[in-house]
């Protein structure tokens, strides 16, 4: 008897399920970053607003990468529901604390997906997820560095802090190819 499911797709159902959950998580992240960008914009943190608009786009790209992968491989990608996200924050520190928490949640989720891939013997998807692992190392670093800067820069130098936060990058990422 033919294996019709395998003929349809190389992705097994448990992997398809967790990838669809990840698409939703990435799009929720995108929505959260957009809310943060809006908050920064209306509170005068123009540079941080720019940083979060960019982050929002990036998260959407992460979701779309998985969406296209599922579609290309014959699996089913579902357009997820995006719940309401917080629109107000206590201050810049609170915004970046939320960022770090969100990025940790995403990292944990990526690690769980790799666990599922290994259990199902799906080495192709595991290879794809390695890109996300590297990306999360960078995202978590940036969030932590921003919180450090908020602690280090005096509270009366708001403009300088805003500018500095938006310029944080992870140039020394050990996973980046030379």
């Amino acid at each position: 008897m033919k294996d019709l499911e395998r003929l349809r797709t190389l992705i097994k159902e448990p992997v398809e399920l967790v990838l669809n959950q990840q698409i939703q998580m990435e799009l929720v992240s995108s929505s959260k970053y957009l809310a943060m960008a809006g908050w920064c914009d209306r509170n005068g943190y123009d540079h941080s607003a720019g940083f979060f608009y960019k982050q929002s786009e990036e998260e959407r790209e992460h979701a779309m990468k998985l969406f296209h992968y599922l579609c290309d491989q014959g699996a089913i990608a579902y357009t997820p529901e995006i719940p309401a996200v917080p629109q107000e924050f206590d201050g810049l520190r609170s915004v970046f604390e939320t960022v770090l928490e969100q990025e940790i949640t995403v990292t944990d989720s990526i690690n769980r997906i790799i666990g599922v891939c290994r259990r199902e013997g799906d080495y192709a998807t595991e290879e794809l997820m390695k890109w996300y692992v590297k990306e999360q190392v960078e995202e978590e670093y940036i969030a932590r560095r921003c919180l450090e800067l908020i602690d280090q820069i005096p509270a009366d130098q708001i403009y300088y802090l805003d500018k500095k936060l938006a310029s944080v990058t992870y140039d020394e990422n050990p996973f980046d190819e030379a």
């Binding site: 008897m1 033919k2 019709l4 499911e5 395998r6 349809r8 797709t9």
Partner: protein, 121 residues
């Protein structure tokens, strides 16, 4: 109904209420339930199975609202739909889950290089 099953149909799973066949000629799974034969692609079969799995049977059992007495399930890419009571949803779920288990077993046998369920490749 038994006599009218084409020779290319292989039985995947059977319960008292229905049968799921596979046709290797057309690459279709045939759902035989409630007196009707519905050929489905592997993708549509998976989608329909998930649709049946997500029916809120607790609400159907506990609600006194007449709208919760039946569930209307539309088959993917088909004009046919099932209007099912709680018991029928459970019977359909049992049939589809059993068929899915057998299809997974078939995949596992192929992956480990063993003969497939029917003994041929």
């Amino acid at each position: 109904m038994e006599g009218s099953v084409p020779a290319s149909y292989q039985e995947v799973f059977r319960t008292d209420k229905g049968v799921v066949y596979q046709c290797d000629k057309t690459n279709r799974l045939i759902l035989s339930f409630w007196g009707s034969h519905t050929p489905l692609s592997a993708r549509d079969f998976a989608q329909f199975r998930r649709m049946v799995e997500t029916v809120n049977i607790h609400q159907m059992a506990l609600s006194t609202d007449a709208a919760d007495d039946v569930e209307i399930l539309t088959l993917p890419r088909s004009e046919r739909c099932y209007v099912l009571t709680l018991c029928e949803v459970i019977h359909l779920r049992e049939l589809l889950s059993g068929a899915n288990l057998m299809l997974e077993l078939n995949s596992m046998l192929r992956e480990c290089g063993c003969a497939t369920l029917s003994g041929n490749v």
